[in-house]
Amino acid sequence: MRLRRFLLFVPAALLLVPFFLAPLFVIGTESFSGQQAPVGEYIKVVTDPGIRKVLYNTFFVALVVTICSLLIGYPVAYVLARLKGKMATIGLFLIFLPFWASTVIRSFAWMILLGRNGPVNSLLTGVGLIDDPIRFIDNGIGLMIAMTYIMVPFMVVPILNGLRAIDANLPRAAAVMGANPWRQFLAVTLPLSMPSIAVGCTIVFVTALGFFVTPSLLGGDRTVVSILISEQANRLLNWPLASALAIVVLLLTILVFALLRLSQLASRRRGKTQAGVLA
């Protein structure tokens, strides 16, 4: 009877053990099997200026994309959270429509939009803001625009859920006590939506760290770590270095999620002590 419950784990175990856990183990062992000393590949990751530049670039792009997604996503979620009925459905539908288009196609759309003779450059030169077309696709700005476009829905959904969970009477209570709309937002809505902001930022940042498609099409000279790993493995057949880089990405991902978890635990504990004081 009790043992039978564990049968429910079998299908997932058949998938995850050989095709998820084993690969991680393989990368782990591979990363220590380089020519130089066991940790030679890791030393190279830390010291090689080319690799360091790529890691820095990946981090920078992910950070900018996260901030831009938050700046666009928060107002969208805030307004959507206040809509009711049909308007809310339509709003969500509009946000999700591009979400369902494949990443390759959405990146392709930005290749057209931001191309040398694309509509954005035509518009800017037409208005007279610039004389020569901007090389969006090589300078990294195009990459960040396209990635932000792709990541905004990932930011909107958790924040929207967080905002909807806030008791509508709380901002009203602040208003009755004399807070104007801006101070209601600062004192009630924003702090209460912080946990969902943290979730949204974590998801966007981690996804952006691992992005491959968009950087490979729009990144130009600005390589990111996913592409570096792919090149090392596929073209240069340097599996130990590719694996070491993969491990670094993996650890970074775990670290970001661990930070999120810690912040959640801390805020929960704080909530408890506050409740204790009130009681």
């Binding site: 050989p18 494949s102 392709f108 057209i112 792919s230 993996l250």
Partner: protein
């Protein structure tokens, strides 16, 4: 004199228009792809100066696309089915069966969705070679089943948590064993979540590029892989035509998927 109240309502109107503009603006890139697909020139120009469907004709006659679409559908369907079965079982174990190690199992079942796919690809390649799966549909199917697992797992967990296990207990006091209870009570109640999870897993497979890049051969090439290879080579209106068709088909699927469960609930 403008009153304070008017100022605030003006601000909230501004916020509303900003968000409206963002939502509409989000459609622009998609519409641009559709627009450039209907031109006759062999290089991309915007705005299009003429109307033609020659790139659609070329797309339809292109065997590479046909094979890639077939591969993608087969891989997506099989991967989503595997992911859904595993996701339902794991969700039942985690939410209902009070099995120990629930937390670690949940984390493991969600992890494939957040792990950068390049990491998994690097590790799966040697295993796929070792198992003799490299270059077959099977390799991509299994990899995509892993990546798809979190979606049905999360949706089914959500559905199971939305009602208490009293439903299942009630069914058992009425004489139904575990299997009958699943068939008559649990499954009908989570059906919408199962369908949604399947579709998400299918969509994830349709969109996945990196694993397919590492694990497939030219004969098992998927649609995103083909598009990506072509884009790396040259940007042509034929790709825009292909993208438009794909967008149309996915939109129909998604609309059907969102409407079907609601229609089911109505009767």
């Amino acid at each position: 004199m403008i009153g304070e109240k008017q100022l605030w309502s003006a601000w909230s109107r501004f916020l509303g228009s900003f968000v409206g503009a963002v939502l509409i603006g989000f459609l622009v890139p998609i519409l641009v792809v559709v627009a450039v697909s209907f031109q006759s020139k062999s290089y991309l120009s915007f705005p299009p100066t003429d109307f033609s469907i020659r790139w659609y004709e070329q797309f339809l006659g292109n065997d590479d696309y046909r094979n890639a679409i077939l591969n993608s559908i087969m891989i997506g369907g099989a991967a989503a089915a595997l992911a859904t079965i595993a996701g339902i079982c794991t969700a039942l174990a985690v939410v209902r069966a009070e099995v120990p190690a629930r937390t670690i199992v949940s984390i493991l079942s969600i992890a494939p969705a957040v792990l950068p796919q390049i990491v998994l690809a690097i590790g799966l390649f040697p295993i796929s070679v070792w198992l003799g799966l490299q270059g077959t549909l099977g390799a991509v199917i299994l990899a995509h089943a892993v990546v798809g697992l979190p979606f049905p797992f999360i949706t089914v967990c959500g559905a199971l948590s939305s009602y208490s296990n009293r439903m299942e207990i009630a069914s058992m006091t009425l004489g139904a064993n575990a299997f009958q209870t699943f068939r008559h009570i649990t499954f009908p109640m989570i059906r919408a979540a199962v369908i949604a999870g399947f579709i998400f897993a299918f969509a994830a497979s349709l969109d996945e590029l990196v694993l397919a890049l590492f694990l497939s051969s030219p004969s098992t090439r998927t649609l995103p892989l083909l598009l990506w290879e072509q884009l790396n080579f040259q940007v042509t209106p034929e790709i825009a035509a292909a993208a438009t068709v794909i967008l149309l088909v996915t939109s129909v699927l998604i609309v059907a998927a969102t409407l079907l469960p609601r229609l089911g609930k109505g009767d």
